[in-house]
Symmetry: C2
Subunit: 582 residues, 2 copies
């Protein structure tokens, strides 16, 4: 049987646009794929789209709006009418729960053939952890059915249905294993339509789950993932086919693509639908050969590019301090949307070093980005004069430091408003954790490209980008002094981050245990870290929650990012450092 997986980039709520694109892609898939010297022209009988591809994922509380569900069902009828009738097409959409009990909706997938829905399977396991909230909306499927066209018995496991073996936490067990049910019922092929967001290293988990299922059932496993980004989530595509010996025989890149596979011979073709587009798609490599830094690099490019496109911006701006964070955001943004669409603004003060401005100039020169210089001394003096009387007798403190950051935020927002350029905020995960950032100051912005990278990861990515350029014979995008100098906020004379924070390698290691592994004080201390330092880090992080509640969405690359996937109360006791004593 010949099957084409279509990894597609849906826009949430754009039912008409998504449906039209699906018809277009199904017609294109029907023409067959001819790429590759050894490949004949393979014409699929089944075309598969990702989970919820008709409405986009995650729709979140738009699902509470009747018109959203109705719009997506109207688009389903459009597909029934417009899809080539001789093709079978598997489509993910939201359906109403018609059982009369439980949640009002289901996360459905139907096969459309000859204008009819010939098969439907709802999702059974509804992820409700981290960034996922599916139990908020959907009723789980009660049965797992087998799709039985003449050629084969096909099972569909929708995304999480495939993850029974790898639950979000070891202490959590789903009561049902949908894949086992399908294997017990007897299937020849397992297809996994997904909308699985990127986390560094996650592809290996997907492949390992597929391998184990393929070996257990002695069947091929076809994994079809969404591509593109929605807010903080990047869908990394990388759809793949695994043969019945558990070997990956084909893996797509990060862009819209077809993966066509003959399930008898396991011969396959991949067609990248955006070949004319620049990186990162063109640089997509076999999954085994890609480093963690390159994975993150590609995810951030997709994340920036898609957020801008889907929110209607072609231009971006950011503040360039001369430090590593803003430098790397500038380089990523230039790659994502073109350097001609980026404005960098350097905003020196009396506390800025000459080196900082030189480094900013050098960075922009290397990356062909426009740099505007706006000294904040005028507004700063004006605020200080205005506040002189009410603040009389009070010492210079973090108030005046924050003031400088807020002047910069105000200037950047003025630039953003006047030139309709989306403001990128340049904070990293270490700063956001420790609260070493100014709310309404450097935290201003619509998107935080590196908000889920620890400072040490930012350095690693910078070095990777320079190495990549070197390997490709380009000039290093990031000047070496930016990588070498001690990080500083430059909000008072001779300030460095380490006046306030523990060394970044220590800070990041502890934060990773606390935030990503949910380890507590005692557990982290037991790993060999100093109790006083760990207490300080946990306390700083817990106390800064109010800042993060008002932060821009960060592009998720780790298993636990700040934002919609980590929800904490603000007004509370810091049990992290006191619970053990009670």
């Amino acid at each position: 049987m010949i099957i084409t997986l279509v990894q597609m980039n849906s826009v949430i709520g754009d039912f008409r646009g998504n449906a039209k694109r699906m018809v277009e892609l199904a017609k294109k898939a029907r023409e067959g794929t001819t790429r590759g010297a050894d490949a004949g022209c393979r014409v699929p009988t089944l075309v598969v789209f990702p989970e919820l591809s008709l409405c986009g994922y995650p729709p979140m509380d738009l699902l509470d709006q009747n018109a959203f569900v109705a719009g997506n069902l109207a688009a389903l009828r459009y597909l029934q009418k417009e899809l080539p009738p001789e093709l079978s097409v598997a489509v993910g959409y939201v359906d109403r729960n018609r059982t009369g009990s439980g949640r009002a909706l289901v996360n459905a997938m139907s096969v459309i053939a000859g204008g009819k829905l010939v098969f439907t399977q709802d999702k059974t396991l509804l992820p409700t952890y981290d960034v996922f909230d599916e139990a908020r909306y959907f009723e789980p499927a009660r049965t797992r059915k087998v799709f039985t066209p003449p050629e084969a018995r096909i099972g569909f496991a929708i995304c999480e249905d495939f993850w029974w073996e790898a639950p979000p936490e070891p202490s959590f067990k789903y009561p049902v294993d949908p894949v086992k049910d399908l294997l017990d019922a007897g299937i020849d092929i397992l297809i996994v339509p997904s909308a699985s967001p990127f986390v560094a290293g996650k592809l290996q988990t997907r492949l390992s789950l597929a391998r184990s299922t393929a070996l257990e059932g002695q069947i091929p496993v076809l994994y079809c993932n969404a591509v593109g980004a929605n807010d903080s989530l990047v869908f990394d595509g990388r759809s793949f086919a695994v043969n019945c010996h558990g070997e990956a025989v084909a893996t797509c890149g990060w862009g819209e693509s077809f993966l066509t596979i003959d399930t008898e011979t396991m011969e396959s073709d991949i067609l990248d639908l955006a070949e004319s587009e620049p990186a990162p798609d063109a640089r997509a490599r076999a999954p085994g050969c890609i480093s963690k830094e390159e994975e993150i690099h590609q995810a951030l490019i997709v994340g920036i590019r898609d957020y801008m496109r889907k929110s209607g911006f072609s231009k971006a701006c950011l503040g360039l301090s001369g430090g590593i964070d803003s430098a790397i955001v500038a380089v990523l943004a230039a790659e994502a949307i073109g350097p001609e669409n980026i404005s960098c603004i350097a905003m020196p003060s009396r506390f800025s070093s000459d080196g900082s401005l030189d480094d900013a100039v050098d960075l922009c020169r290397r990356n062909h980005i426009m740099l505007e210089r706006l000294s904040i001394e005028g507004p700063f003096t004006s605020y200080l004069n205005l506040l002189e009387k009410p603040f009389a007798g009070k010492a210079y403190d973090s108030t005046e430091e924050n003031l400088q950051a807020r002047i910069r935020g105000t200037l950047l927002m003025a630039w953003s408003n006047k030139f309709n350029a989306l403001l990128l905020t340049t904070g990293n995960k270490s700063e956001l954790a420790a609260g070493y950032c100014t709310l309404y100051g450097d935290m201003c912005g619509a998107l935080a490209p590196i908000g889920d990278l620890f400072k040490t990861e930012v350095y690693a990515l910078a070095k990777h980008l320079n190495k990549l350029a070197e390997a490709e014979g380009r000039m290093a995008p990031i000047p070496q002094p930016i990588i070498d100098k001690a990080p500083s906020a430059e909000l008072r004379f001779n300030q460095t981050d380490q006046d306030t924070l523990p060394p970044y390698d220590l800070l990041d290691a502890v934060l990773r245990e606390y935030i990503e592994e949910n380890r507590c004080l005692e557990e982290i201390v037991a790993l060999g870290y100093d109790r006083i330092v760990v207490e300080k880090i946990l306390s700083m992080t817990a106390r800064a929650e109010y800042k993060r509640r008002q932060a821009a969405p960060a592009i998720k690359v780790s298993k636990r990012a700040f934002g919609i996937g980590r929800r904490l109360p603000l007004a509370r006791a810091i049990h992290e450092i006191t619970a053990d004593k009670s």
Copy 2:
């Protein structure tokens, strides 16, 4: 049987503090209540605390931290040791799910007597809608058991377990009715330990559910709710007892209180534990007699006071424009924490009317609040000079309007930082909906006291507060000109809100249908509203989502507030106005 319901104000994560307070309150309850001329001294054998009272509600993702669950279980052991052994005490806490399948935790309630857990019931219905996420953490109870001390057969329905008849949406049906299970098993008394957040009018629903259960089972129903606020949620207490004829025989106020009831005679006492405290507790009236405005008034006072206390602030500040929104926030804050703890800052510009400043002065005079005047002309001019070159040839537009709002936000944050005063933001729900507000400008602040009140509701509350003062012989807190004049942001000459927005009565009516009732364009038009106006309002609201994602938490008073209970994607198609055409 004599039972005391204790409506308690827990702090999330303060296991030691909550447990100590519970021991203290249980001992106090054991002394019996003697208040009321007709009441003898009633000594309870059972004392009931609210849902999750040991750890506080809602703990949110703190539940992912092992140390949080462990800390709360350690506090449970402390209670077993320290509670008076002759009392039976029902306590809500988080327990581990020991069944080996499903979620790692349960939302539990145990009766402690003689140092032992003599009865445990987990929660069955796990609310997962609006502000609730319980399916994210908890496994539901599989059985409903009856607690059988010598005196009576008692059923416990934990909060949502009591709400089977009133699901969040008509299209949603819980598959199990825990109260029916208990009635079928045979109970003499139903107790409902809850952490039920305030929504205007919700008490009537609670009473009506209790009435219907009481009549069906011919048993008394005792409802024990939490008090205090956590971030955007206010727990309004108002615990009550309903007799077997469905009549409410006692209802508490909004503060920490005992409700002691003899379930044979249904004679009751209420003891307000904070009688020395000022309003709103002292003004608590019988539930039937309280207006919607007075309910909201009390909720906002509790919300402001508790957020400040639990986040460690004694002082607050806010910007006073001379308009209705900031005026009412100032009055509420003064009532909540004392006028001596409030700083109001008036920040006039070239566009401010004289009337505005006069009104601000009058307001502060009436309410004994300190007023600081800081003209923004200096910083405004300084920014305009700095931006003159890059903005050359560009017209004055919303950039310069936002700039003024951001200068004010910056000054207020400087004040907040320097004087350690929590900044209250003064935006209302109509503005937040339409995006008629400046991110990092007037949206700056840690808490939005009236962020869930439509503009028309703000006016109604202002009139109510003035009437209340009149009835109590006090000076009206809000000067009449503030109520009478046309609302204006004063960001350009002769600006009024209605240059940009539809009239507020129309705007608010449409917003209520869209946001609170989830009605779509066609449904709202069918109610008789003009299609063009509705399209404009829906489109404005959908497009402003990115601002609300970074907004301060608003105190929830409606069935659907912006914030954690309404989660929408940012980068998406505005299906609200296009879906019908696809």
